[in-house]
C-alpha cells in the first residue's frame, strides 16, 4: 500500500515531464488501433471500457488525472461519443492554474460545449478571469473559447470585457478580440450598435492581421446588413489598393460584392480596379473571386455594351481555366461561366469555345461537373445543334461500366432533354419522328433499362413507384407525350400507332413505370380514332390523297386494333375461364390489382372512349342508315359492351374513391345501354363469351402443338384443332373468336364458316395477314354495293340501335376539339355574373322523369319503371329524326345552363367563347371546328430550310403546332410562391447563425430595456404554450426524439424563465411569491415526465 502510494507520487512527479500523461493517451490510441484490427465488437467493448475508466478518473481529486481523462475523452469524441456529461469536469480543468491543463480544458470545451445554459453561467466567470489575465496567451485562449461557445447570455455578460481587448497592446489579442466580437454581435446584436465605431476604427489598425480580421468581420456582417457600411467605402478602396495580400483582397472583393447590391454606383469605380487585378495577378483563386465579384455583385447590366466587354474579358480569363486540365479549375470555371452566361445568354454561342467547353463538361466523367453543365445546356441549344445536344444527353443516359447512374441524375438528364426539346412550343424540333424516337430511347434507357438491371441483378423487387426517380421520369415522359399528342396533330397517329399501341400491350410498362400509363391511357382514349394500321407511318411523304386512300383500306383493320387493345385491357374474365397458368391477358389482370389509382382513374374514362370508338366504327362499317345493325354485329357490339361492364364492375369496389366514382357512374350508364340493347336477354352475349374462350383455348393448344412438333404439316394441325374444338363443344365449354375484324370478314363471307376462328388474329402478324386477306377487298365491295343499293333484304335482319348508343355516348367525347390551353387558364375564367348558386333553379326531378334523355340524372326513377322507359328510349329512336334530337338537346342545354352542376356553353352568353375554348369536353353538338379557330401556325416555320449540306442532318419538317390558348380577362394572378409553402426548416436550436442580424437596424436607438421586455413577453407566451404541450404530452408520449430534445430545451429555458419570474416578483408583496413558486414546482414535475 505504502509502496503504491509512493508509486503514484512518483508518477505525479513524472507527469510534468509528459511521461504518465502521454502514455495514457497514447495507450488509449494504441489500444484502439490494436483492437480495431480484431473486430468491431471488440473495439466497441474496448471503447466502452475506456470511457468507464475516464469516468472513474474524473471522479478523482487530482486535477492532473482529470486533465488526462478529459484529453482522452476529447480524442474519443472523434469516434462519435457524446462527452457532454463531462462538461463540469472540463470547466474544472479550464480553471486550472497550469497552462497545460487550461489548454486541455479549453480544447475540450471548444470541442464539446454546445450552448449548455447553466454550464455557461459558470463558464462566464472563468472567461472573465482569463480575459483579464496578464498572460497574452491565456487571453488569446479565452478569446478563442468565447468565439466558439458564445451564447446570448454569455455574450451580454462578456461583451464589455471583450470590447476592452479591442484596444489591447498586442495585435495578437486585438485580432482575436475583433473576431470574437463578431460572434458576440451575432448573439447580441445590440452590441454592434454600441461598438460599431470601434469596429470601423480597427480598419486603421497598424497591424495587417487585425485589419484583415476586421475586414473578415465586416464582410460577414455585410452579407446581412450591407447598408451600414456604405459610408466607409473609401476606406475599403484604400485597403484594397494598398494590400498585396491575396487573402485580404479576396475578402474585400467579397465585401464589395455585398455592397454593390445596395449601392450600384460603386460598380463604376470598382470594375476598373478589378480588371486591373485580374490582369496583374496569376493566382487563379483571385481571378475567380474577381469574376465572382463582378457577376454575383450584380455589376453587369445585360444592356450595357461596356458591361458586355467586361463579361467577355471575364470569359476569356475563364477559358484559361479550362485549358489547365485541372478539374478544380474546370469546376469553378464552369460555375463562374454559368453565372455569366445567365446574364448574357448569347455569349454561349458568340464567344468561341464556350459551347465546346460546356459540351466537354457534359461528357465529363465527374458527375458533379456533368450535372453543372447540364444546368446550362439549354442555353446552348438552337435549331442547328438541337439534335447534336440531345444526342450527347442521350449518351449520358447510357450506363457506363465504371459508375452507375443514379436515378436522380437520370431524372435530371431526362427533364433536360424534354426541356430543351419543347422550348418555345417545340420550335426547335426539326422532325417529330426523330423526337418520338428520342423519347423511345429515353424510355428504353431509363425506365425499361432500369428494370432490366434490376431483373438481371434479381435481388431487388421493383422499387416503390411513388418515391423513386423512375416514377418522376415516367410522369415527365407521360406528360410529354400528352403534350405532343394535343399540340401536334400530325404526330398523333404515329404516337398512338408506333408507341401507345405497343407499349400499352407491354407488361413491362405496367410493372416498372405505371405512372406512364396514366398519360398513355389518356392519349389512347382521346385519340383512339387515329389508330391506323402499321405501315402508314413509314411513308409520311405520301400526298394527302394517297393517305386518305390508305385510310379507307385500313379502316376496318384499325377496328381490329382497337378491339385488340380493348381485349388487352378487359379480358381478365376470359383468362379466368381459360384457366391457364400464365394467362393470355396478364395486363388486364394486373390492372385490377394495380396500386396506382391515378392510372385507373384515367383508364376508366379511356376504356369507355375506346368502346365508343369501336361502336362508331361498327356502325360506320356495317350499318346502312346509322341506326340499325345486322344481328351478327349487333351481338358483337353488345358483347364488347358486356366485357367493359364486367371489367368496370371489378373496379366498383376499389379503395380509391375516384376510381370507384368514375367506374360506378359509367357502369350505370353502360348498364342502361346494355338494357337498351338486349332487353335483359344476355343469351347472345354468353354465347359469344364462350366462343371467345374457346378460341383462345384452341389458340393455346395450337401454340403448344407447334412447339411440340414443328414438322407437323398444316393439315394435321387443322385437324387437331378441329378435334379440339369439337371436344370442347361437347363439354359445353364453348369458346369463341372475338377478333372481330377477322370475324367480321368471316361473317361477311360466310356466317357459318367458324373455322376462321383459328387464325391467330390477336398478334400483330394477324394484321399483316389481314392485309393480305382477300376478304378485305370483298368487304369494301360489299360495303360500296350496299351503300349504293337501298337494301331491303337485310333490313329485316337488322336490329335497331338505341339512341343512347348512336348519339349520346359519342356526344360525351366528340363534341369539341381538344386544344391546349395555357397554364393556369382555368383560374382566369371569370365567374359568370348571372351565376346564382343559392336559389334553386332546376325543376324537381319528377318532371324530368318524362324526359327519356334525362336518365342520367335520375336513375332511381328509371329503375322504378324500367320497361316503359326503355320503350320510350327505343321509341324515341324510332320517331326522332336528327332535328328532333337536336331540339331536345337544345331544351336540355337550356335547362342545364343555369344548373351549377353542369358546365355548359350558353351560346348567347358573353362568356361563351371563353368557356368554349376552355372546356373541350362539353356536351354540345356544335361542330368540332369551333375550337380550331385558335389553332395557330405561328410557330410553323414558313420556309422549309433545306439543309442538304449535311446528309445526316434532319430536315426541318413543316408541322402545325397548336399554341396554347390564352385567356384574357382577369389579369394574371401571381403564381403561388411555392417556397413559402415549403415547410420552414426547423431551426437548429444549437446553431449560431447570423439570422439575428437579419432584422437588425443599426440606426435604431439603443434600447436594451425595450427588447428585454419584448423578450420577456415572448417567453410568457412560450410558457403558456409549453404548459399546454406539457399537458398534452403527459397524456400521450410522443416517440419523436427531436421533439424530446426540443421540449428538453424549452424545459430548461422555462426553468430559467420561471426563475426570472420569481425574481421579478420578489419586489411584490410576499403572498405572490408563494403563488409563483407553486406553479414552478408543478411545472418541474411535468418536465420530468417528458424527459
Amino acid at each position: 500500500m505504502s509502496f503504491q502510494l509512493q508509486n503514484s507520487e512518483v508518477l505525479a512527479r513524472l507527469k510534468p515531464f509528459g511521461i504518465s500523461f502521454e502514455k495514457s493517451l497514447s495507450d488509449l490510441i494504441k489500444g484502439i488501433r490494436s483492437t480495431s484490427k480484431d473486430s468491431p465488437e471488440s473495439l466497441s467493448a474496448y471503447l466502452n471500457s475506456v470511457i468507464l475508466e475516464c469516468k472513474n478518473e474524473l471522479q478523482t481529486t487530482d486535477i492532473e488525472t482529470k486533465a488526462s481523462a478529459i484529453l482522452k475523452l476529447t480524442y474519443l469524441e472523434m469516434y462519435g461519443f457524446d462527452m457532454s456529461w463531462s462538461n463540469f469536469q472540463i470547466l474544472e480543468v479550464m480553471s486550472s492554474n497550469k497552462f497545460q491543463q487550461k489548454r486541455i480544458g479549453y480544447l475540450a470545451a471548444i470541442q464539446s460545449f454546445k450552448n449548455e445554459q447553466d454550464l455557461l453561467i459558470l463558464a462566464t466567470n472563468q472567461f472573465k478571469k482569463d480575459l483579464n489575465s496578464t498572460n497574452h496567451i491565456e487571453i488569446g485562449l479565452a478569446l478563442s473559447g468565447i468565439a466558439t461557445i458564445v451564447t446570448p447570455n454569455l455574450s451580454k455578460d462578456i461583451n464589455d470585457d471583450v470590447v476592452i481587448k479591442l484596444s489591447h497592446s498586442s495585435p495578437y489579442i486585438r485580432k482575436k478580440a475583433i473576431l470574437a466580437m463578431f460572434k458576440i454581435f451575432l448573439q447580441y446584436p445590440e452590441s454592434l450598435k454600441m461598438n460599431f465605431d470601434k469596429v470601423i476604427d480597427k480598419l486603421d489598425d497598424p497591424d495587417l492581421a487585425v485589419v484583415s480580421a476586421t475586414i473578415n468581420v465586416i464582410c460577414e456582417i455585410s452579407k446581412k446588413q450591407p447598408k451600414i457600411f456604405i459610408n466607409y467605402l473609401p476606406k475599403f478602396f484604400a485597403i484594397l489598393q494598398d494590400s498585396k495580400n491575396n487573402w485580404l483582397i479576396i475578402r474585400i472583393l467579397k465585401l464589395f460584392q455585398s455592397l454593390s447590391k445596395v449601392e450600384p454606383r460603386i460598380k463604376k469605380k470598382i470594375i476598373p480596379i478589378i480588371l486591373d487585378l485580374m490582369t496583374k495577378t496569376k493566382a487563379s483563386s483571385l481571378i475567380y473571386e474577381c469574376i465572382n465579384c463582378i457577376s454575383n455583385g450584380s455589376m453587369l447590366d445585360p444592356g450595357s455594351s461596356k458591361d458586355k466587354d467586361t463579361a467577355k474579358f471575364c470569359i476569356s480569363k475563364l477559358m484559361e481555366f479550362f485549358k489547365t486540365n485541372d478539374s478544380n479549375l474546370k469546376f469553378v470555371g464552369l460555375i463562374a461561366l454559368i453565372n455569366l452566361v445567365k446574364i448574357f445568354p448569347t455569349f454561349i454561342k458568340s464567344i468561341n469555345g464556350v459551347s465546346a467547353v460546356i459540351m466537354d463538361c457534359l461528357n465529363d466523367n465527374d458527375l458533379i461537373i456533368k450535372r453543372k453543365a447540364l444546368g446550362i445546356c439549354h442555353f446552348l441549344v438552337d435549331e442547328n445543334n438541337l439534335v447534336e445536344v440531345v444526342k450527347v444527353l442521350l449518351v449520358q443516359l447510357i450506363p457506363a461500366e465504371n459508375y452507375s447512374l443514379s436515378e436522380t441524375l437520370q431524372e435530371e438528364i431526362v427533364s433536360k432533354i424534354l426541356e430543351i426539346s419543347n422550348q418555345n412550343n417545340y420550335d426547335l424540333i426539326p422532325n417529330f419522328k426523330w423526337y418520338i424516337a428520342v423519347l423511345r430511347d429515353v424510355m428504353n434507357l431509363t425506365l425499361l433499362g432500369n428494370s432490366n438491371r434490376i431483373i438481371s441483378g434479381s435481388i431487388l423487387p421493383v422499387a416503390d413507384y411513388s418515391t423513386s426517380g423512375s416514377s418522376k421520369i415516367s410522369t415527365q415522359i407521360g406528360q410529354e407525350f400528352k403534350n405532343l399528342a394535343t399540340k401536334v396533330p400530325s404526330v398523333r397517329s404515329s404516337v398512338i400507332n408506333s408507341f401507345i399501341f405497343t407499349y400499352i400491350q407491354d407488361i413491362r410498362i405496367l410493372e416498372n413505370c405505371s405512372p406512364l400509363l396514366k398519360d398513355f391511357y389518356w392519349i389512347l382514349g382521346e385519340y383512339i380514332d387515329e389508330i391506323k394500321v402499321d405501315g402508314y407511318e413509314e411513308d409520311v411523304e405520301e400526298d394527302d390523297e394517297s393517305i386518305e386512300h390508305v385510310n379507307v383500306d385500313d379502316s376496318q383493320l384499325s377496328l381490329g386494333k382497337k378491339i385488340e387493345i380493348l381485349n388487352t385491357i378487359v379480358n381478365v374474365k376470359v383468362d379466368q375461364a381459360l384457366g391457364l397458368a400464365n394467362g393470355r391477358f396478364l395486363i388486364s389482370k394486373k390492372l385490377l390489382t394495380l396500386d396506382n389509382p391515378e392510372v385507373l382513374i384515367v383508364l376508366v374514362q379511356a376504356l369507355v372512349k375506346v368502346l365508343n370508338s369501336i361502336f362508331s366504327d361498327l356502325i360506320k362499317f356495317y350499318s346502312l342508315d346509322g341506326k340499325t345493325l345486322d344481328a351478327e354485329h349487333f351481338n358483337q357490339l353488345t358483347y364488347y359492351l358486356y366485357k367493359v361492364i364486367e371489367f368496370l364492375g371489378a373496379l366498383e369496389n376499389h379503395t380509391n374513391y375516384e376510381v370507384q366514382e368514375r367506374s360506378l357512374s359509367w357502369l350505370e350508364f353502360l348498364k342502361l345501354l346494355l338494357e337498351a340493347l338486349t332487353n335483359g336477354d344476355l343469351e347472345q352475349v354468353v354465347k359469344l363469351r364462350n366462343e371467345e374462350v374457346e378460341y383462345y383455348k384452341s389458340l393455346a393448344a395450337k401454340e403448344r402443338t407447334r412447339v411440340r412438333d414443328v414438322l407437323e404439316s398444316e393439315e394435321e394441325l387443322e385437324e387437331l384443332e378441329e378435334d379440339d374444338e369439337e371436344d370442347e363443344d361437347e363439354e359445353e365449354d364453348e369458346y369463341e373468336d372475338l377478333d372481330s375484324s377477322d370475324e367480321e370478314e368471316a361473317q361477311e363471307e360466310d356466317h357459318a364458316e367458324k373455322s376462321e376462328v383459328d387464325r391467330p388474329l390477336i398478334s400483330l402478324e394477324a394484321d399483316l395477314e389481314l392485309k393480305a386477306n382477300p376478304f378485305s377487298e370483298d368487304i369494301k365491295e360489299s360495303l360500296l354495293e350496299s351503300n349504293g343499293v337501298e337494301n331491303k333484304a337485310l333490313d329485316s335482319l337488322n336490329k335497331e340501335l338505341p339512341i343512347l348508343l348512336t348519339h349520346i355516348l359519342p356526344s360525351f367525347f366528340k363534341s369539341y376539339q381538344l386544344n391546349p390551353i395555357e397554364k393556369n387558364a382555368q383560374r382566369k375564367i371569370a365567374i359568370p355574373a348571372n351565376l346564382d348558386l343559392v336559389t334553386q333553379i332546376n325543376t324537381p326531378p319528377a318532371q324530368d322523369a318524362s324526359d327519356s334523355e334525362d336518365f342520367e340524372d335520375d336513375y332511381d326513377l328509371f329503375l322504378s319503371d324500367q320497361e316503359t322507359n326503355v320503350d320510350k328510349t327505343l321509341s324515341s329512336v324510332h320517331t326522332s329524326d336528327g332535328e328532333e334530337d337536336y331540339k331536345k338537346k337544345q331544351e336540355r342545354l337550356d335547362r342545364l345552363r343555369d344548373d351549377p352542376y353542369y358546365i355548359t356553353s350558353g351560346k348567347e352568353s358573353a362568356k361563351k367563347s371563353k368557356l368554349k375554348s376552355k372546356k373541350p369536353l362539353l356536351l354540345n353538338e356544335s361542330s368540332p371546328e369551333v375550337g380550331s379557330e385558335k389553332t395557330s401556325i405561328s410557330s410553323l416555320n414558313p420556309e422549309i430550310k433545306e439543309k442538304k449540306t449535311k446528309a445526316k442532318k434532319l430536315r426541318k419538317e413543316k408541322v402545325v403546332i397548336l399554341s396554347e390558348e390564352i385567356l384574357d380577362g382577369i389579369a394574371d394572378e401571381p403564381e403561388q410562391v411555392e417556397a413559402q409553402t415549403i415547410s420552414k426548416k426547423k431551426k437548429n436550436a444549437f446553431k449560431i447563425d447570423s439570422s439575428n442580424l437579419d432584422n437588425f437596424d443599426i440606426s435604431a436607438s439603443v434600447a436594451p430595456e425595450e427588447t428585454g421586455a419584448g423578450k420577456e413577453f415572448e417567453y410568457e407566451i412560450d410558457l403558456d404554450e409549453l404548459r399546454k404541450k406539457l399537458a398534452d404530452s403527459s397524456i400521450e408520449k410522443k416517440p419523436k426524439k427531436s421533439k424530446k430534445e426540443k421540449s428538453k430545451k424549452e424545459g430548461s429555458s422555462k426553468k430559467e424563465k420561471s426563475k426570472s419570474k420569481t425574481t421579478k416578483n420578489l419586489g411584490a408583496p410576499g403572498t405572490t411569491i408563494v403563488a409563483v413558486k407553486k406553479p414552478k414546482k408543478t411545472k418541474k414535475k411535468k418536465a420530468v415526465i417528458i424527459e
Binding site: 496567451i137 468565439a147 461537373i369 444549437f990
Partner: protein
C-alpha cells in the same frame, strides 16, 4: 470565409481529426461525417475536389493517406478553401516535422492547436505562415514552463 467544419479522414474512412464550427448534435455530426465519407471516398483522383452538400460546399483534398475535408458556405471561394487546407498541412508539416498520419493520430491536440490559431471559429484569423507557428510555439513553451515549475516544486 466561414468554415463550417473541418475533418480529416483516413483512406479507410476513419476520422483522424474533427472540428465543427456549427453547434450540431453528436448524432447529426456523425451522420454528416458518414455521408461525406461515402461521397468522398468514392471519388476518383482526377475528379474535382468540390462537392455540393446540403446548403454548403464541401472542399476536400488528399494528402498521402489522409483526406482533408472542409465545409464552407456556398458563396465562398472554393479555391481559397483548398488554399486553406494546404496552409494547414504546411504548418502541420513544419510543426511535426514531415508530418504523417501517425503523427496526427498520436499528437492530435497539437493539430487542434494549430487549427485554432489558423481559424477562429471558422474564420481565417491569420494568413501569415510564421505567425501561427510562432503562437503555437509560444503556447507550447508556456506549457513547458508549467512543467518546469512542477518539477521544481
Amino acid at each position: 470565409m466561414a468554415v463550417q467544419f473541418l475533418f480529416l479522414l483516413s483512406r479507410q474512412g476513419k476520422v483522424r481529426l474533427s472540428k465543427w464550427y456549427q453547434a450540431l448534435s453528436q448524432k447529426e455530426k456523425s451522420k454528416r461525417t458518414r455521408e461525406l465519407t461515402t461521397l468522398i471516398l468514392a471519388r476518383r483522383a482526377k475528379m474535382c475536389n468540390v462537392l455540393e452538400y446540403k446548403e454548403m460546399k464541401v472542399v476536400y483534398r488528399r494528402y498521402a493517406s489522409l483526406f482533408f475535408i472542409v465545409g464552407v458556405e456556398s458563396g465562398d471561394n472554393e479555391l481559397i478553401a483548398l488554399e486553406l487546407i494546404h496552409r494547414f498541412v504546411e504548418q502541420m508539416d513544419k510543426m511535426y516535422g514531415n508530418v504523417c498520419e501517425l503523427d496526427i493520430i498520436f499528437g492530435f491536440e497539437k493539430a487542434y492547436h494549430i487549427l485554432d490559431e489558423l481559424l477562429l471559429d471558422g474564420v481565417i484569423q491569420e494568413s501569415s505562415k510564421k505567425e501561427v507557428l510562432k503562437r503555437v510555439a509560444q503556447q507550447d513553451e508556456l506549457e513547458n514552463m508549467d512543467e518546469f515549475d512542477n518539477i521544481l516544486a
